[in-house]
């Protein structure tokens, strides 16, 4: 990637693409759809996927946590106490999943599992000028989370993030249009074309900017980003070994100022900085060597 510094490929980054491809296959293994033309309805569909993976995708066996959150807020509108409590149950369930993943590994699934992240990385490989994401654009993810995922579903009763989600278009709409299910779908309306236009705009945005959706929009990344500084999985700098050469900053695909911004909410934990550091000053793991030595004393 032009302008992103030296990449030695001796560390964890060399395995990342494989992990992302494995994530794509593990989250979407229902190839029986080709013959049955009906989507998976087994018990795993009640479990959340650790990534933005649309549950309208005919090949998926998991539920999208962002879709789950919106469904919970829609149910909270119901006047019947039974439905209201079900909404609360869904919110607690999805909230527990998001908090547990966040407390364990923070945004690690963004860099290593999320199929939509992989798609954006592939789109970024298309030829064209490469640039940075302006700082203020990344602040859009907060109004997206609060507005489209929490408030609008609660006030209007519709899943507005899902209605506009480009991952839903790529993983749900396109495969279902290409290989229609046995049960006929409603006819295509203007909203479908609006969604298609948003998806095309995102693809064009991916060419100059690395993973713009993850950095400026994704509600999952926003929530897991809050845990980056406090999760059990750690990425740390050994200050005595750091020569402040700035190679890690130049290697960072999301333009973080490293090593200071190592716990930033925006870090997708791709670990490219670990590969790039010539001093080996960046370490990662559930218990980094520094703490192991501390515990042994």
């Amino acid at each position: 990637m032009a302008g992103k510094g030296r990449r030695s490929r001796r560390g964890p980054d060399r395995y990342r693409k494989w992990s992302q491809v494995a994530g794509l296959v593990i989250l979407n293994p229902f190839f029986a759809y080709f013959s049955t033309r009906s989507t998976y309805a087994g018990p795993l569909k009640g479990a959340c996927a650790p990534g933005l993976n649309c549950y309208a995708c005919p090949f998926t066996v998991f539920a999208c946590p962002v879709g789950g959150l919106q469904h919970g807020f829609v149910l909270l509108r119901e006047k019947a106490a039974r439905l209201f409590l079900k909404g609360l149950g869904v919110l607690l369930y999805v909230g527990a999943f998001l908090s547990a993943v966040g407390a364990l590994v923070g945004r690690l699934p963004c860099g290593w599992v999320c199929p939509f992240g992989l798609f954006q990385e592939l789109a970024h490989r298309m030829p064209g000028r490469k640039g940075r994401l302006p700082g203020w654009v990344s602040a859009l993810r907060y109004p997206v989370l609060v507005g489209l995922v929490f408030l609008l579903p609660l006030t209007t009763g519709a899943a507005w993030f899902s209605r506009l989600c480009p991952a839903g278009f790529l993983e749900g709409a396109l495969p279902l249009k290409a290989i229609p299910p046995a049960q006929p779908l409603p006819s295509t309306g203007w909203f479908f074309w609006l969604k298609a236009a948003l998806f095309c705009a995102l693809v064009l945005w991916c060419v100059p900017v690395y993973r713009p959706f993850c950095r400026a929009v994704c509600p999952l990344g926003t929530v897991w980003g809050w845990f980056n500084g406090s999760c059990l999985f750690r990425l740390e700098v050994e200050e005595s070994a750091c020569s402040s050469c700035g190679i890690c900053s130049r290697a960072c695909p999301v333009d973080l100022k490293l090593p200071g911004g190592i716990s930033s909410h925006a870090c997708i934990r791709c670990l490219r900085c670990v590969d790039a550091c010539p001093e080996g000053a960046l370490r990662f793991g559930l218990r980094p060597p520094g703490e192991r030595a501390e515990a042994a004393r």
Partner: protein
């Protein structure tokens, strides 16, 4: 500081476990399942 960080993460995990157990009382996983098995028309723009 590192120990404090581990404690904080473990506390969040404990709260998440409690929230999961509470969600079982109100059929959280079942409600999500029933919602997820139907093709999400919102998600594919066919609303």
């Amino acid at each position: 500081m590192r120990r404090g960080r581990s404690r904080k993460a473990l506390l969040v995990l404990a709260i998440a476990a409690a929230a999961f157990l509470l969600s079982l009382l109100w059929e959280g996983p079942r409600s999500l399942y029933l919602h997820a098995v139907v093709i999400c028309l919102d998600c594919i723009g066919l609303i």
